[in-house]
Symmetry: C2
Subunit: 317 residues, 2 copies
Amino acid sequence: MGKNMTKYCFGIDLGGTTIQLGLFDEHGKCILKNELPTRKELQGKFILDDIATQIEAMLLETKLSKDEIIGVGIGVPGPVVKEAVVLNCVNIGWGTFDVAAELSHKCGLKVKVANDANVAALGELWCGSAKDYNDAVMITLGTGVGGGIIKDGRIVEGADAAAGEIGHMPIVYGMKERCTCGNRGCLEQVASATGIVKLAKEYLENSDVMSALRGISNLSAKDIFDKAKENDKLACSIVKEVLEYLATAMANISCVINPQIFVIGGGMSKAGDYLIDILQKYYEDKAFLPAKTTKIVLAKLGSEAGMYGAARLVMTV
Amino acid sequence: MGKNMTKYCFGIDLGGTTIQLGLFDEHGKCILKNELPTRKELQGKFILDDIATQIEAMLLETKLSKDEIIGVGIGVPGPVVKEAVVLNCVNIGWGTFDVAAELSHKCGLKVKVANDANVAALGELWCGSAKDYNDAVMITLGTGVGGGIIKDGRIVEGADAAAGEIGHMPIVYGMKERCTCGNRGCLEQVASATGIVKLAKEYLENSDVMSALRGISNLSAKDIFDKAKENDKLACSIVKEVLEYLATAMANISCVINPQIFVIGGGMSKAGDYLIDILQKYYEDKAFLPAKTTKIVLAKLGSEAGMYGAARLVMTV
């Protein structure tokens, strides 16, 4: 084999319902993609076997040999230390174990593991909207609020695998209700899709201002943003409150690691430039002077960010 | 010269009134120490010459040759990028320039530059209370609130040299007065020596609770902590409010980079274990579950931390 042989790697995003598997070249081009259901039965004991089998199938399909594969990166829905050991993945039934060692044993390839929000951030850095940057923070506004911190092109895990847990920054003061984590006033309690709907219901109960939101059953985050875009006063107030909290968290993040760029992803980010514009205004107001100009952009890779970032994990020296 | 020749380096802390210069061996032992006044006249144009002259004198005194010196590390009171370029040092009259190149030219040694709060953190990591750790956050509670973030044994500078600017985290909501930075509600506005005194004066004005603080002219941060230790009710309330804000900032920091240890330094930290105990309690309450056990300790090196950390700068590969 020649010295300049192209190398490939697998990027896998293990979700609560689906496993996304991608085969990538060194430049971030996805040459083959597949999906599997996540088998959660028996504490998820079949998951790694399913992945190993699928890897063999994808190698067969592409006629690639294991010599041409640098390794397998995998993003998992739980805390990870040392790019190897999962501390627990409640969603899929896993306890603490060395996923890297076990999957490597099953598939005969080098394996690196990281948290799903963290690999998403790395994916956006490699091939998405933070391309050409080294230091980025990604914030995922979904059912919860996730985050990933990239410093010098690498994921920051933290001493207890809690780095980038932006959703649990204590940002909202005086909140009575507890977050799923047990604390009170976490960013996630207002800035997630669940949180904003809860906040909207409070607004609706505690005011008699007319609002198009009152007519909507099964209110969603999307409804709130849609009505705000139509200038519904109450919807605007809710959106502003949420984005002001988010901007406060971002201003805090800047005083800690001062990234080059913030990437906003997740379902709620579909509100698009409307969201970014308001967020930017609040961020500029709250950020420390030298960091007021930090870029804030929308994520590009959507639900594939994790797969890309997982691949990048093994590409990184 | 033998391969195992001991190597040395200079660690310099450039302050607004004094320059501290230390000559260190590789193990962090300070073999010679000196102080110079900081000549601020003519936009501080003599400062680097004074330092270069002093370096030569210290080499002469120790009979060391430049071959035995790895380099010169210097901490400066302003933002620094790329371990070289100072963006501005208002205190000593400097604008933006490449301190590393200029001092290196003057003294014929390799030079690395960093912000003073950052080198203090690095010093505590090398030889102080964060020894044996790789990821630490130091918070300096002085006239202002400074901070330094160490990740994998290295200073985090940030994209705009604003990483570790913990004093400017937007932590206090609803504050009317502006911080020196122009924003409102910065941690520094309550958790600095200046801030706590201001807060105490507000408490005293807005209540008629008996307090030993009322009898004190020229109230200082030390007075407030001393009276709190004696169970003065008002002083206790002030200390608690300040430390609750500080703990909130620390809980936020943990959700971003999740360090192994927090080191608390600066004049106010002389309140000692009393301060740490209260801070720990609030931190445990506010921190995200996996990070609740992060160590919080007092700094050890006092005003020499910067000199140690500056030396470490050039020891680091």
